[in-house]
Structure formats: structure tokens, C-alpha cells
């Protein structure tokens, strides 16, 4: 039985990249952007399910106009088409505002299940998928590491890990799932995939196309405003303890006892 699967993907700076700050914002020129890594695990699972059962994977990304390049990466690894939610009015949104945009778009896209990441590694919000689930009145399962669809396609069984415990959860479909690492191995795009991605369709929707009130999205719709963004305070320089293992270990134990008073 074929499935329509949506993969929610955010564009984020590569976690290896150096972050430069100016005027309480991240300088984006020269920054290397990637698909959010946990969203990619979700995309991978979506692709596998469609390979097994047939159907289609639609990548959905809400982000600025120049995020197209990043969306193509999802098409290059195998997503069939993509929806780019982009409008100057969407910018500066917090999780609440972004979830509103995604929920409005998902009302226009047919789906049987939605994959997303458990958290996007830029803001570490870990709340957009749960919010979308609530806004669309869908069940959700968080931090999924194993996933099995029932033969009738009406329910799914997931193993997920949270707070040191491993849970088995079941849910009816449609539902939203958030991916945790361990769900699968990521694939790399082939040259053919990269070439083919150029021909795959990307639909653009702005606030008007979604019938969204611009006061409810982006910075205007956000419940928070960033008043300061600064590098973390530097830690004072540390001490390298010299000597062989025995000597250094004894000195360290003494320092932890006498200087830091921890042991």
C-alpha cells in the first residue's frame, strides 16, 4: 500500500561552522547551510518506507528565499518533490510562529505520515513537530529509533528513547514522528540524484497562498524577541598537570580535594 509521506526539514548552519555574531544576529554570509541532521534521519526513513511500499516523499521547508539550494539536497537524495514556505513575513519567527506556518501548509498537502527531526541543531527548540501535531490534532511519537508499519497501514509501532528509558509506543495514522539518531544510516546523494534534483518540482507558498495573517507569523507572531545574542563567556585557562601518569594523577586528586574541594 503506497504512502504519501511528508518530511519536515529546517535549514541550519552546519554544526562545524564558525558562528559570527553582529547586532544580536548571526552573520549568514559565507555560512555553510545544511538540512537539519535529525530531520535528515526522518527523511531517510521516509525514503525507505516509500521504497518498500510505494508512494511519494514531499520535503517541506520553511525558510528564506535562498534556502532553495538546501531544499535541492533533499531532492537529490530521493524526495519526489518539495514545498518551500517562504515569505519575508515568516522571518524572525519562533517555534510557535513557525509551527503555525507549517500547520497551514500541511492542510494543503495530502499525507499519511509526517517525519521530522527531534530537534533542529541551530536553536535546539525541540518543539515545532509537537506543536504542529497539536495544531493539526494529530498524535505524535517523539525520538523514534525503530519504526514498523502495520500491514494494514493503519497503525505504527515505534521504539523510542527518552530519559534513560526505552519505550515501545503505538499510534494510529496519520501521525507525526520525530527522528532520533540510530533510526538509520544516512545516504549520500549520487551524481545522478544531484542532476535529477534540478528537474524535480518545488512549489513556493507565501503567507497569502496559505491564507495566513502576517501578524500571526514571523517576528510579529513570535511570543519572544531576542534581546541579546553573544558568544559564551570564556572559561579561565586551565592547568596541564605535568609528570607521568602516577604523579599527575596524585597531583590532580590533591587539587580536586584542596583547590576545587570536590572530593
Amino acid at each position: 500500500m503506497p504512502y504519501n509521506i511528508v518530511a519536515l526539514l529546517k535549514r541550519v548552519p552546519d554544526t562545524e561552522s564558525k558562528i559570527t555574531l553582529r547586532d544580536n544576529a548571526v552573520v549568514t554570509e559565507g555560512l555553510n547551510f545544511v538540512l537539519d541532521p535529525y530531520g535528515e534521519y526522518g527523511l531517510e526513513k521516509a525514503l525507505q518506507l516509500v521504497e518498500q511500499h510505494g508512494g511519494k516523499v514531499t520535503a517541506v521547508l520553511c525558510g528564506p528565499a535562498d534556502a532553495k539550494e538546501t531544499i535541492r539536497k533533499a531532492l537529490a537524495v530521493g524526495a519526489d518533490d518539495a514545498v518551500h514556505l517562504s515569505d519575508p513575513a515568516f522571518e524572525g519567527g519562533d517555534a510557535a510562529a513557525t509551527a503555525r506556518v507549517l500547520a497551514a501548509a500541511l492542510k494543503q498537502i495530502p499525507f499519511d505520515l509526517i517525519w521530522s527531526g527531534k530537534q533542529a541543531v541551530d536553536q535546539d527548540n525541540a518543539q515545532v513537530p509537537e506543536r504542529v501535531a497539536e495544531l493539526l490534532d494529530l498524535p505524535h511519537v517523539n525520538s523514534v529509533i525503530e519504526f514498523t508499519l502495520a500491514a494494514d497501514g493503519k497503525t505504527a509501532r515505534c521504539v523510542r528513547e527518552v530519559d534513560g528509558e526505552r519505550d515501545v509506543m503505538t499510534t494510529t495514522l496519520p501521525a507525526i514522528f520525530t527522528a532520533q539518531q540510530g533510526l538509520g544510516e544516512l545516504r549520500y546523494p549520487s551524481l545522478k540524484g544531484i542532476m535529477g534534483a534540478k528537474k524535480k518540482p518545488i512549489t513556493d507558498w507565501n503567507a497569502a497562498a496559505l491564507g495566513l495573517d502576517v501578524a500571526a507569523v514571523g517576528a510579529a507572531g513570535a511570543k519572544f524577541q531576542v534581546i541579546q545574542l553573544e558568544p559564551p563567556p570564556a572559561r579561565p585557562p586551565g592547568k596541564i598537570i605535568p609528570g607521568d601518569a602516577q604523579t599527575a594523577a596524585q597531583e590532580l586528586a590533591r587539587l580536586l580535594h584542596e583547590e576545587s574541594k570536590i572530593i
Binding site: P13, T15, E16, I19, V26, A95, A96, V121, Q123, D124, N125, A126, Q127, V128, R131, A133, E134, L135, P139, H140, N142, I145, E161, V162, D163, G164, E165, R166, D167, V168, M169, T170, T171, A175, Q180, Q181, G182, A222, F224, Q225, V226, L229, E230, P232, R235, G238, K239, I240, I241, A245, A249, Q250, L252, A253, L255, L256, H257, S260, I262, I263
Partner: protein
């Protein structure tokens, strides 16, 4: 809406988690600044004992949603129950612990109530009448101060940023809140507790962590011995986890657990930015690495350049001796 702060307590089989008591102390100055009180809430099945404990932490009121339907975790049922508690308390601010559970349920409740939520905050204060939260972002490469535009508002607070409140106060009144649950569509049907160190990673005072340098599952043995001596939890880098040497639940870092213990000992961990994101707010950091140029030494208070298989057992012996003094 009142000027009160409502803290959502969280427990497990052996009682309330430490973060629940820490939330009381995070909330006190906020309540004082707003001219309100700190109230608490517990949710679950058979959670009377949790409510009684929470009532003795200095909160002025405890709200309880106790329902057999909350026996097994189900996001929708917990969302319904928490929304009912918040509705009964009418707070200006709701604080959750930034645990896996806290982050998951707070997001869904925030959407249901259409409130803002700031995740995993390391400080909370009232500035000119507004709630201002501190959040590390971009794998700890930047620290954001976010201001709530209005009340009511929610935040989840990272464990270990405040001392836990004591349970020696006069018991506050406890109010049961009745809830009506629908059959949840998604729910836990089975829970397998992980074989894990005796001490919970998120709450531990001392963490002993190993990375690729431990070279295999058996390489964690000297770390386990040191952890026993220090009553520490075991942490790991993602490289050690991905290699299958230790379970995911031990992963420290941006996408694993965030820890802020009094002492963090990193052995055979290079100190990648994503690892630092999870532990760089520890009070004292010790690095043991055979590469003197490993980035972990840049954040370490004390470093030993050497083979962990020599240094860790020697450290264990030296600490035992020091503890004997």
C-alpha cells in the same frame, strides 16, 4: 491570570526528580519580582506521594491531576491533564524541567494553549517586569537572551542550574483537579528500563565520560571503577555511542544529554563543539587525552596528557587515597 509561577514537577518510580526541587528555587525570585507566589503541580497515576513531597518545598499550593488513564505515558492525555492544571492555577509563568519528558509535553501543551515556550533555559529573571530567559544556541557557540513579549508564558529549565529546595516547610494545601481523558491515539505500551549506571546522568554531581579513546566496550571498565569511587554517572561521546560501545542514553552533547555537574571528567574525548555544547557549563572540567592539542584542553580546568588506560586507574587509586585522608 495571576502573578504566580507554576512549576510542573516530574517523577519516576522512586519519587520526584531532583529537577522538580530545583524548579522551586528557580521560581522563587521570579515570583518575588512579580508579586506572586510559587505553586506546584503534579500529574500522573497514583501520584499522591509526589504531591505530598512537593507540598513541603515552600510552594503555596499544589495542584494534582491523578488519573488511572495516566498510568502509561500518552502525549495527548498528558497534554489534556497539564492544560487542565494550568487552567486551574491561572499562572503568569509555567516552568518545566528540560528533561526529555518535560520538553515533549511542554511543547504540546504550549501549542494547545497558544503560549510561547522557551526550551532548555540556563537562567530566568524578571527584567523591567518582563520574563527574560537565557538559552545557549548554535551548539553553545552563542548565548541568547530572549524576552517574553507578554504573559502568560512557559519555559523549560535545564537541570542542575539551581540548588534543590528542601522538603522541610509546612505542607501547602493540595487541590485535586478533575480531568476528562479521551482514548489516546499514541501511547506507551511497554517500557524497558535501560541498564544504566546507578546514578542518573542528568542529575549527577560527578560525570565520568569516555570517547573514542576508550577503544571498545571493555574500555569503559576503568571509567566505571572511577565512577564507583566518585559516585558518578557514566557519560559518553557520540563516537563511543555510534560505535555501539555504550547505550545512547549515556550520550552527552548537543544532541544527547546536557549536563552541568560539579565535576566532569572527559577521558579519550577530543572535545568536538557538539560534545562541548552538552558539558561546558560543568563547574570543574578534567580532560585526560594523549593528544596535547585536543580541543578539550581548551575548556578543561585541569588536564593530563597521557594514556587514559594508565591515568584513569592511577587517578582512581589517588582519589581513594585522598578520600581516606
Amino acid at each position: 491570570m495571576s502573578n504566580n509561577i507554576l512549576i510542573i514537577a516530574e517523577g519516576r518510580a522512586d519519587g520526584l526528580k531532583k529537577v522538580s526541587f530545583e524548579l522551586v528555587n528557580v521560581a522563587q525570585p521570579l515570583a518575588a519580582a512579580l508579586g506572586g507566589a510559587v505553586q506546584g503541580a503534579v500529574v500522573g497515576s497514583n501520584v499522591g506521594a509526589w504531591a505530598n513531597t512537593l507540598a513541603q518545598t515552600g510552594v503555596t499550593q499544589v495542584y494534582v491531576a491523578d488519573d488511572a488513564g495516566l498510568q502509561n505515558f500518552a502525549p495527548e492525555s498528558y497534554t489534556t491533564a497539564l492544560a487542565a492544571l494550568i487552567h486551574a492555577a491561572q499562572p503568569a509563568v509555567v516552568l518545566f524541567g528540560a528533561t526529555g519528558w518535560g520538553k515533549e509535553v511542554s511543547a504540546r501543551v504550549a501549542a494547545q494553549l497558544d503560549w510561547g515556550l522557551a526550551t532548555d533555559c540556563t537562567a530566568a529573571q524578571i527584567v523591567n517586569g518582563a520574563l527574560v530567559l537565557t538559552r545557549p544556541v548554535y551548539a553553545g557557540k552563542a548565548i541568547a537572551q530572549v524576552q517574553a513579549k507578554s504573559f502568560p508564558i512557559m519555559a523549560s529549565i535545564r537541570p542542575n542550574i539551581a540548588p534543590p529546595a528542601e522538603t522541610n516547610k509546612t505542607a501547602a494545601p493540595i487541590q485535586a483537579v478533575t480531568i476528562t481523558l479521551k482514548e489516546p491515539r499514541a501511547q506507551v505500551v511497554e517500557t524497558v528500563a535501560q541498564q544504566k549506571s546507578k546514578v542518573d546522568l542528568g542529575e549527577a554531581n560527578v560525570v565520568v565520560a569516555g570517547g573514542r579513546g576508550v577503544k571498545g566496550p571493555e574500555g569503559f571498565a576503568p571509567l566505571n571503577e572511577l565512577a564507583d569511587t566518585l559516585n558518578a554517572a557514566i557519560g559518553a561521546s557520540r563516537a563511543a555511542v555510534d560505535a555501539g560501545w555504550i547505550d545512547y542514553t549515556h550520550q552527552v552533547g548537543q544532541t544527547g544529554k546536557t549536563v552541568a555537574p560539579k565535576l566532569y571528567i572527559a577521558a579519550g574525548i577530543s572535545g568536538a563543539i557538539q560534545h562541548l555544547a552538552g558539558m561546558s557549563s560543568s563547574k570543574v572540567i578534567v580532560a585526560i587525552n594523549k593528544d596535547p592539542d585536543a580541543p578539550i584542553f581548551k575548556v578543561a580546568d585541569y588536564g593530563i596528557v597521557g594514556d587514559l588506560f594508565d591515568v584513569v586507574p592511577a587517578l582512581n587509586a589517588a582519589i581513594k587515597k585522598e578520600q581516606g585522608n
